[in-house]
Subunit: 196 residues, 4 copies
């Protein structure tokens, strides 16, 4: 009978993610989370010793399940174009799942306050996913030193887009911004192209 217990944890975690996304951390009350999960309030404290523990559990869940599926890169397309494409795909994902994207950014702030070390571990996970994908898109004459850099720039720009999206409602001039940055990625990769 371990499985039901695990399922209940999972359901609560998923509910917590959704509630944080919709109402922010301050609006993520235990009642709302329990209600969303269709579980009695007391169960939340039966499965997790505190609200804090539940929110930390969100990150473990994110690491295992969520991030990998969103980005695909055509192998050998070149680092600049890979980065440009990835940025667009990230932007598309943010548009597709804005609540989820927002929740993630908010949780970075929250978790840094609770458990400083956890924040960097979690953030790095996302960067690693980006970097791995970028490597798949590299050509022979691309500079490998750019990969980590690009990954972090993409991550940072993603966060920036989320914040601006929150402010401006995800509509409007974002497209220009995207083109421009993508363009600069390609330019940059080109400039750093290795001579053989």
């Amino acid at each position: 009978m371990r499985v039901p217990a695990d399922e209940r944890r999972r359901a609560l975690i998923q509910a917590a993610i959704e509630v944080v996304a919709e109402h922010g951390i301050e609006g993520a009350t235990t009642r709302r989370i329990a209600e969303r999960a269709g579980s009695p309030l007391a169960r939340l404290h039966y499965c997790f010793s505190s609200k804090e523990e539940l929110i930390v559990a969100i990150f473990e869940s994110l690491a295992n399940d969520q991030f990998e599926a969103a980005v695909h890169i055509r192998p050998g397309v070149g680092l600049g174009r890979a980065a440009a494409s990835m940025l667009r795909q990230l932007a598309a994902w943010i548009d597709r799942e804005p609540t989820f994207a927002r929740a993630q950014v908010e949780l970075v702030f929250w978790i840094a306050r609770q458990k400083d070390s956890m924040a960097s571990k979690v953030y790095q996970m996302a960067v690693d996913v980006f970097a791995e994908r970028l490597r798949e898109g590299m050509r022979d004459d691309d500079d490998p030193n750019l990969v980590e850099l690009f990954a972090k720039m993409i991550a940072a720009y993603g966060d920036g887009m989320v914040v601006q999206g929150v402010a401006f409602g995800h509509k409007g001039i974002r497209e220009d911004l995207l083109d421009t940055t993508a363009e600069s990625f390609e330019r940059l990769a080109e400039a750093h192209r290795l001579v053989h």
Copy 2:
């Protein structure tokens, strides 16, 4: 006797920023803010009609006082170099005043949830400050259409840096990231240079 009133507003705003940075939005209660400012709770509602108004005032303070003082552009230096320089100065400010910077980003989330329209107004304030400074740095053959774009990119990158800074504790590899982006700004402006 107007001045003391203003000073008290300022003190409350400063306290609010600090409390948000330390405890997050969820922990930024009116009581804590008042206590930090060394003022009775009722004064907060005497100076600001609501907590929301206080939060909005934070943005005004940031835009009017902080950003304006933090960023200086040499006139006529050229749009690309102006943008590059501005990005660095913004990064320096984020390092110098991580408290302010973090608070600002968190508050964007909060304010968007309270009053959607307010968020864009408030975010635009910062963008406007950046744009104005950029215009001062323009040369004759710079493309004016790039100004708003650059301003928003700088803002977005700033937010991204803040989030990454929260995650990684403001130490480390950020310098490379900065160089790269600054470089891309210059490149971009060059490419869009007008023909006379």
Copy 3:
């Protein structure tokens, strides 16, 4: 310069009456009263040592100015018809000035709690006005013992109408109720008619 001070008291009293009528006693805050009177808040406590004193002053004002003008009786019309007519006029006044009528009833409760004796004095004033008018309408063969009774019945029915009006919004079946009661007044006077 005594007059301005008196005028200010009067203005505050009038404002208080209006505010109580609109918002009830619980909604009659000092701020609202001062605002309605167009006076600074502090003046209220300069003219009246407390909110309680102001509300007590309302009754003195009512005694002097308000009640007498509302009811007129044709002399010699007979006690039953006079009472019937008076009831209708009272009802009309309640319709015309519902907020004022409500305020008066609410204040009876309030003042009874503050100063028990004052309540009966004030209520009796209204009864006396009714009784006096009724006497003007008497015929020779009317029973004088009925006068005080009718006056109190009218007062009580007036209060009852106010309460029911509050509940049902002053519309509807009240007319029937009125006819019926008026009819019963006439019947009663007839039955008690003196034999000469």
Copy 4:
């Protein structure tokens, strides 16, 4: 364990009634009510979702428990005598439970300000109880159209008696008033008697 919950609701309702009667609506704070009921403040909001709901519950309690128990009509006694008797019983109840009676009238004012529609629903509850009892007392030749009318008159007169009782301290001349009105009820029913 349902019963204790119900008892606690009842205790809070009873406490609320007493506090309203003692301190008026303005003085009927949740704290005072909870304290009077000997319960922690939070329990009030656990049993009733809001203060408004508690106040509404007072009316239900009055209509269902108090009035029903207070008024008994001998079947077939005739509408006029039934109404007359009911008025006397209501008066007796007001004397017996002045606390309840005063609270009820004050609350009509309060509830009308919170939610206009609720006031009529709540007032009608009491009228319905009266009407039902009156119907039990009807004879074949009584006019059924009088029932609702009588019920409302009784309610209105009851309210009037309460207000006068508040003013005069429940002593004195009320008895005459009662006789007179009761008499008029009987007269009226007689006059409307149906012909078969």
